[in-house]
Amino acid sequence: MKVHEYQARQLFADHGIPVPEGETTDSYTEAFEIAERFNKPVMVKAQVLVGGRGKAGGVKYAENAEAARVLATNILGMDIKGETVRQVLISVAADILSESYVGIILDRVTQRPVFMVSSAGGVDIEEVAAKTPEKIHKLAVDPVVGLKPFQARNLAYKLFRDIGQVRQTADILMKLYDVFWNVDASLVEINPLITTPGGDVVAIDAKLNIDDNALFRRPRIAEMRDVEAEDPAEVKAREADLSFVKLDGSIGCIVNGAGLAMTTMDLVKRYGGDPANFLDIGGSSNPQKVVAAMDIILSDPNVRSILINIFGGITRCDDVANGIVEAFSQLKPSVPVVVRLTGTNEKQARKILSSVDLPSADTLDKVVKKAIELAGETA
């Protein structure tokens, strides 16, 4: 799960990481009031979950409150990569002497949290990694031992020579490491971490990705989810405990298992179609999940046909068949549905499905081709 900058910077501040004063608002009049209260030049920053907002014009400098009002008016409602800006952060502008990058990622290869620091901050770090990897210094931390102060200092020395700045940075790195564990992050990032002419080290941006698997024990973080920034169908799917990703094609897919669901999408593309979604109904075989899945897919006006591909293991085909029959009676789908059910209780499933008389196929490749063919007929 991603959280907004203003939420991440609050968590950073709670851990003692210095961030400039700031407030969030959804109105330009309030933006004016906040900037007036600060009585200093401010940054007006779009709060969106997608990256690249700076390049899209979502981050601007305002000399005074009136300028902040005008900028907030422009930025609020702006579309950044498909996401509408509904909130702006008004943050006191800092005098910047230098910009660095510091971050921690969960590294799959070493199975450790890995620090990355670079004096090439303020820009896209992936670009730095690709073009000048020597500018990024890394440290894999032993998760059992934790980050030791000397390690934080060593990293800080990669960025600064001045002992005062090294100390401040080492302190920030220790705190950032705490944030990583305390919120169950998979990524924490400060880009840029700046120095001011006065010698202070300050975090002026904050990025935080949370491990979805840990949200059950982080209720405060879970509440930060911005449902409005997500696709409504994806929100609905999550509530129904379905794994769903919306795509642009016309073939709706209902599959059990993530790997098979991806494979089904791949084959739709391979045989000349376009998948409308990724959808994994999961391991259990609750018929209601099939109904919910069908409902979500049918609400997509682009969908021309639906393919259901189930390889029964723990999932029982007869349960899925019952779900399909139920979905047909409740939702009366307006597009053709083609079914492939293989594995556990396949025969019973066929018997149940005979009441709705659907086209079916016995292999993965065949069901995909059939779905594309049917979509072509309804297009």
Partner: protein, 333 residues
């Protein structure tokens, strides 16, 4: 032969009284797995499907000499279950549970390794050695005894591939689901190494998916170390970047972890990549035929193998020299 589990596997089921645990304990027993014990705190002295239940893993191991454990406990308690099994001396722990926090996994892995144990999973379907033992949730009716090794990050996609193999008469030595999470106990290379050393395995199927770089790393390993043919399939070519595709680990982030990169790396390493799981058996047949032809065309190499066999019988006592000797012989070709 097989890898990781066989007739000597004495299985303990952690979370045996739960919905999934009780169902699959019975399924595994029915398949022929030697399920010796179950563990659920507070449910000691009861039985599930005729299997005795203990309060702690330690007690269960003492009483039954269990050497393998499978975990069906909810995600909040799964990591503790791993610690408990490893601390009790279990050397193979299979964690089926999905939804385990990745940070907990980072902490438990050093513990597992220090104790010389192997963890498979989490978020995996487990493994099966046909006609010998099944640990996890893989359906027993789709496998068939044979000479193909299967490794996969997925569940149902694995079933699809196994089913395609079995349909074509290509049975399996062992099928291993290593799990779809970011931090997992056993990776492709661990399995490839084990299959390479397993005498009965003649061909290997490796099913990968988007996210991370395990497939790329495995491709390099295959090129350098494997004499047995490997065929692959990569799921997620149609997946958009930045979106998690069901599995916690299946995500293309910052331009890395794409299916395209993985397919390229594998192709470069000489591993044929199937366009659909149904094409796997044919590709594997061809690859195995080629491997056989190559072996037959090089009589010098065959002689070398024979020589090793003789040497091996002479130096009989140390069993471990077998695979080692063989690899040297093959490398020499």
């Amino acid at each position: 032969m097989s890898i990781f589990i066989d007739k000597k596997t004495k299985l303990l089921v952690q979370g045996i009284t739960g919905r999934d645990g009780s169902f699959h304990a019975a399924q595994m027993k029915k398949y022929g797995t030697n399920v010796v014990a179950g563990v659920t705190p507070g449910k000691g002295s009861t039985k599930v499907a005729g299997i005795p239940v203990f309060n702690t893993v330690q007690e269960a191991v003492e009483k039954t000499k269990a050497n393998t454990s499978v975990i069906y406990v909810p995600p909040a308690f799964a990591v503790d279950a791993i610690y408990e099994a490893v601390a009790a001396g279990i050397k193979l722990v299979v964690c089926v549970t999905e939804g385990v926090p990745a940070n907990d996994m980072m902490k438990v892995m050093p513990f597992v390794k220090e104790h010389g144990a192997r963890l498979i999973g989490p978020n995996c379907p487990g493994l099966i050695s046909p006609d010998k033992s099944k640990v996890g949730i893989l359906p027993g009716n789709i496998v068939k005894k044979g000479n193909i090794g299967v490794i996969s990050r997925s569940g149902t996609l694995t079933y699809e591939a196994i089913w395609a193999l079995t349909f074509e008469g290509m049975g399996q030595t062992t099928c291993v689901g290593i799990g779809g999470d970011q931090v997992i106990g056993t990776n492709f290379i661990d399995c490839l190494e084990a299959f390479e050393a397993d005498k009965s395995t003649k061909g290997i199927v490796m099913l990968g998916e988007i996210g991370g770089s395990d497939e790329e790393v495995a491709a390099k390993y295959i090129k350098k170390n494997l004499t047995k043919p490997v065929v692959s399939f990569i799921a997620g070519q149609a997946a958009p970047p930045g979106k998690r595709m069901g599995h916690a680990g299946a995500i293309v982030s910052g331009g890395s972890g794409t299916a395209k990169d993985k397919i390229e790396a594998l192709t470069k390493a000489g591993v044929p990549v199937a366009g659909s799981p149904t094409e796997i058996p044919q590709l594997l047949k061809e690859a195995m035929k080629k491997a056989r032809a190559k072996a037959a065309a090089k009589p010098g190499k065959k002689a070398a193998t024979k020589k090793t066999v003789i040497r091996k019988t002479k130096a009989a006592p140390a069993k471990k020299t077998k695979p080692a000797g063989k690899t040297t012989a093959r490398k020499r070709k």
